[in-house]
Symmetry: C2
Subunit: 259 residues, 2 copies
């Protein structure tokens, strides 16, 4: 049987601890090529680099694992892998992460980790975004690796996959034995309210720094990713990209004159 080829990327940069954890997950299923940003690209969403040249360098090559650093966004990294670097090969799966910090609820929209996973799913193979609900640079990834392997294993074992398939997986902070299991979930409804941190820089110019709090608009709903995560479960939300609001589409026929 042909060895599987797994593309790994992230938004925290090729040198992050979460990248090593994602490579560990991927390596248990086949050969790994990682193409990840040079430095942190958190919050970069589905951004692409249109007006700058990008540089690629190979950081590391060893048995079954190659790691590249790319100067673009997470989505640029995925495009680089599929459309240039691995153009002649068949990629079987994309793993993006493991992110330092959760990407549940509306955070899927802002997340560079999920931007890259979504992009990967456009190329005809399954894509899994993995995030750990712990922002600490020294976070313990053991549970995320364990559940990452389990979920990726299930996805690769699926004999009748339906594509596109993109999963947003979030793992609670804590030791593996503290996790209560996996919950398939829908994306929680909620939003961020920001408080701009406001100071003067060393030259006396006022600056702003984004900071804020997530407002869960449906804390009681037990079928959401936020609920699962808050209650000690790994949440798995399948993600798609048709943003059409079909409810509004029907209603707007009475509001907007189509002449």
């Amino acid at each position: 049987m042909r060895e599987k080829l797994i593309l790994v990327t992230n938004d925290d940069g090729y040198a992050s601890k979460g990248m090593a954890a994602a490579i560990e997950v991927a390596r248990s299923f086949g050969r790994v090529v990682a193409v990840a940003p040079e430095a942190t690209q958190s919050g970069m969403s589905q951004a692409i680099t249109m007006y700058n040249p990008l540089y690629l360098r190979r950081v590391r090559q060893e048995e079954g694992v190659e790691v590249y650093a790319f100067s673009g966004t997470p989505v640029d990294c995925v495009k680089m892998a599929f459309d240039y670097l691995l153009r002649e090969e068949r990629i079987d799966l994309v793993i993006s992460g493991i992110n330092h910090g959760s990407n549940s609820a509306v955070n899927v929209l802002y997340s560079g980790t999920m931007g890259a996973a979504i992009e990967g799913s456009f190329y005809g193979c399954p894509a899994v975004g993995l995030s750990l609900d712990d922002h600490d640079a020294a976070a313990d990834f053991e549970a995320a690796v364990l559940y990452g392997k389990r979920i990726v294993g299930d996805v690769l074992a699926d004999e009748h996959p339906v594509l596109p398939l993109c999963l947003n997986v979030n793992v609670p902070k804590g030791r593996p034995e503290e996790i209560r299991g996996i919950r398939l979930a829908r994306q929680n409804r909620g939003f961020w309210r920001e408080e701009f941190f406001r100071r003067e820089d060393p030259r006396g110019r006022e600056y702003f720094w984004l900071t804020g709090a997530f407002v869960n608009a449906e804390p009681q709903a037990e079928d959401t990713d936020e609920w699962a995560l808050a209650h000690g479960y790994v949440s798995v939300v399948p993600v798609q990209v048709d943003l059409t609001d079909y409810g509004q589409l029907e209603r707007l026929g009475k509001v907007i004159k189509e002449v």
Copy 2:
């Protein structure tokens, strides 16, 4: 009656021609505050600036129109307006654009224009993203202004609005009299295939530059935004942000073990 307050933003920067066109649309409905990026932020999607301080400056103030330049992304601009600058006021509508280049189909995901419009819709007022299918710096915005006014007028005249409401409006290139009307549409399915433009920089280092072609996966479907635009209509797609793939959610119960 209280004068309406319209927030204007974009991803091409406060000094772009499309910004002036968007302000013209907005000004016909009330007082205008524009908060837009210092320079181009095309392709920035829903990106937010997490690791840098941001600077705000007032560029212009005249009767009924204030313009601010902000050093962040389009989404940062919207957050700055709602959460700081206009925190004590009620914003009635957000207009993002008018973008130089269309944002139909999957481009809604990469677009900074639509990132900002989507963000605006999170704050409890309608949001309209306006894009013109013409990348030329000297593009003719007359049709986009005309149809922008018509659609924004219809949205503001709606006596029983259902929120959130976010519209992705794309206007074909050409003179107003060439446009055949408005079509409510769904987001076309398609994707980008990239070709990396590859050269050597002045110091002999190889660089890559993103370039590519959009592949319309359903060119025959007459209910999509791509079809409308290609056939001379203004397309209007209502946009929502629950990315949950409910079809997969049901099917995955058999694939992923929830233990």
